[in-house]
Amino acid sequence: MSHEAALQNHEGHESHEHDGHHEHHDTFLTKYVFSQDHKMIAKQFLITGMVWAVLGGLMSVLFRLQLGYPDSSFPWLESILGKWAKGGQITPQAYYALVTTHGTVLVFFVLTAGLSGTFANFLIPLQIGARDMASPFMNMLSYWFFFTASIVMMSSLFVETGPFSGGWTAYPPLSALHDASPGSKTGMDLWIISMALFVVSSLLGGLNYIATILNMRTKGMSMTRLPLTIWALFFTAVLGVLSFPVLLSGLILLIFDRNFGTSFYLSDIYVNGVGALSNEGGSAILFQHLFWFLGHPEVYIILLPAMGMVSEIISVNSRKPIFGYMAMLGSLFSIAILAFLVWAHHMFVTGLNPFLGSVFVLLTLLIAIPSGIKVFNWLTTLWRGNIRFTPGMLFAIGFVSLFISGGLTGIWLGNAALDIYLHDSYFVVAHFHIVMGVASMFGMFAGVYHWFPKMYGRYLNNSLGYLHFWITIAGAYMIFWPMHYQGLAGMPRRYFDFSIWESFKQFADLNRFISTVAMIVFATQILFLINFFYSIFKGRKVTVLNPWESNTLEWTTPIRPGHGNWPGEIPEVHRWPYDYSKDGHDFIPQTTPVGEDESGTH
């Protein structure tokens, strides 16, 4: 029925059918489990994402323990990990399984599903003025596919031969041959099934976001009056819808190689204990092309939602219009286009034709332009603003800082000549953790702090928020900054133990330092979780409709909006969302009609 409501609204903006909502009784099952309300689905994505963030973070603590203390043994490890930590030290196989699962779940489950899933679901209908998504049912399915993918991935942690251990990029032959490693057996089967389910979930969600944004905006909400959050989520969805199917193609070919003896990716292989394989003529590089055709857009799928939310939060808390709205749109657009044209910068050392490589260098470096525009616009929005340093705002500013730091190293890596040296070193690890991992996490935190009052009708605790921010930003730089030096010194990524290399012994102390900080930062995230769950039930209650004095539509809904979002008619929009400090008004909501003697309107 919500479905009907959403559609009728689209037809004529009449909303009398809304009264029907109250007669409809939700059971526990339809309200909290198989909910079709976009706000509840958003929370489901958020909380599932948080569970994965804790698990994925814990994995990194475990493998950092190995890197920081390669010579020590921790008997308690054996008691939780069993045979994966014989004698109190995790085994190389377990190390690789942990790194792989950490990468996979953080990239896909936390920063894709947890981020887009949460905020696209929550914000799109609320900020464009719709009662729900184009298809609330598909939306619900999207979550349950994600949930099933989660269960399958989780179960791979418990199989006899362990989870997949060939890296989050799942390159063949490790991913294609059962006998290549213990993790390549059942663990890999489960990994593929889980990822296939995940792709379906992303598609069901992404299609909904696109259809909803294009077709269900309220009266007056033209595309150029949309908040930048919505634009960013729109491009994110487009990227996902166009690139995830290509990953699926790659995985399907992989399934055939694994299970039906084909030779798409395999050629001339000898496996110890098995002998020479009959596969001939396949090319492992082919998989890399298919993978990175998704893989690069994927990093922007992770980043764009954070960019959008940060633009919104910075503008609201600077009490200034966003600087260069159209430039922000243009740069989002060009980033989305370029995202499809640069995948081979992950493959400079695969024997790529150097002339082709130089084209990819050029296209890769072009990304610096829209990235630079966005940074410039955030900084100019902050400039001489009347800044309110809420925790959400701090995380947004932290995002900008991290994006600058990590983007600059991207320019190093984008040069093939430099990348041939830096590829697969800790420099790359530093680059992508800062620019993607931590930055997008910051975007997500910013979003949670900013929209928590709308989600739960209560506030998060501010003091804990400040503590969370300062420890996390300082810790993130302390963890990842030194990795640049390690990478420049040639330290390769994905190694189990550096203490046996003469040239890397100098880093023993540094590695221990990094590991220690990593544990502290992880513990700080627990603080955030406590704040989050405590505040849902016991936080200070929100008593005003618009606590941040913001212009966007979500703050015109009741403090705890029901299914359908607005009790009466959906408000009409008369202006863009960034009229802050205009004509002597601190802020003018989008629903305020244009005044007679108002200066230029958008």
Binding site: H13, A134, S135, K219, P245
Partner: protein
């Protein structure tokens, strides 16, 4: 009541959903056929002729698109029985198409070219995987036809809500065009 803005947006959200979904299916097959081209330029590629039966299946699926369009037309005119009849014929043609595709696979194997397994060459494996994935999309369409047809039984006047059958026919036309692309690709380009 609606402003200029809203009249521009009159395309139904669920149609938009479908169009974007078709875009993602396009990308899936674009990925596969690009991989095919890359692979073909490398060593060990086996050239062989497409079995004749694929020509017949192409005609069949073309025909089914025509019957599907007729079904939409009848639905809009509110003619229940012809509408259901055309849907049934379309579904049958879809099934015939799938059977013919499988015959195509068997014809290739009868020529001693393995599609999968240790003796297979990726030329044949590619053809098999791509065609099989397309076949699954047709299968999805056939199931959807039955779904729509079944639902129409309870409708008093089908002309009142033709959205389901319009979505269905768009999808069906799409898998048809997709096959023609794949057929031309496999026969002449790839």
């Amino acid at each position: 009541m609606s402003t200029a803005l809203n009249t521009k947006n009159k395309i139904h959200p669920q149609k938009m959903y479908l169009y974007a979904g078709l875009g993602s299916i396009v990308m899936m097959f674009a990925g596969l056929t690009s991989a095919y081209i890359v692979k073909k330029s490398q060593a060990n590629w086996l050239d062989f002729d497409l079995p004749k039966v694929f020509f017949i299946s192409t005609v069949v699926i073309l025909l089914s698109s025509f019957t599907m369009q007729m079904a939409v037309k009848k639905a809009k005119e509110g003619l229940q029985n012809p509408y259901r009849g055309f849907l049934t014929v379309t579904a049958i043609l879809g099934v015939v198409f799938m059977v013919l595709q499988v015959q195509g696979f068997m014809a290739i194997q009868a020529n001693n070219i393995a599609l999968t397994g240790p003796r297979s060459n990726s030329a044949a494996s590619f053809l098999f995987v791509i065609t099989l994935l397309h076949l699954l999309h047709v299968l999805g369409g056939v199931i959807a036809i039955f779904g729509v047809r079944f639902k129409s039984l309870s409708a008093k006047n089908i002309a009142e809500n033709t959205l389901p059958v319009e979505l269905l026919s768009t999808y069906w036309l799409f898998v048809d065009i997709l096959w023609i692309y794949l057929f031309v690709f496999l026969q002449w380009i790839g």
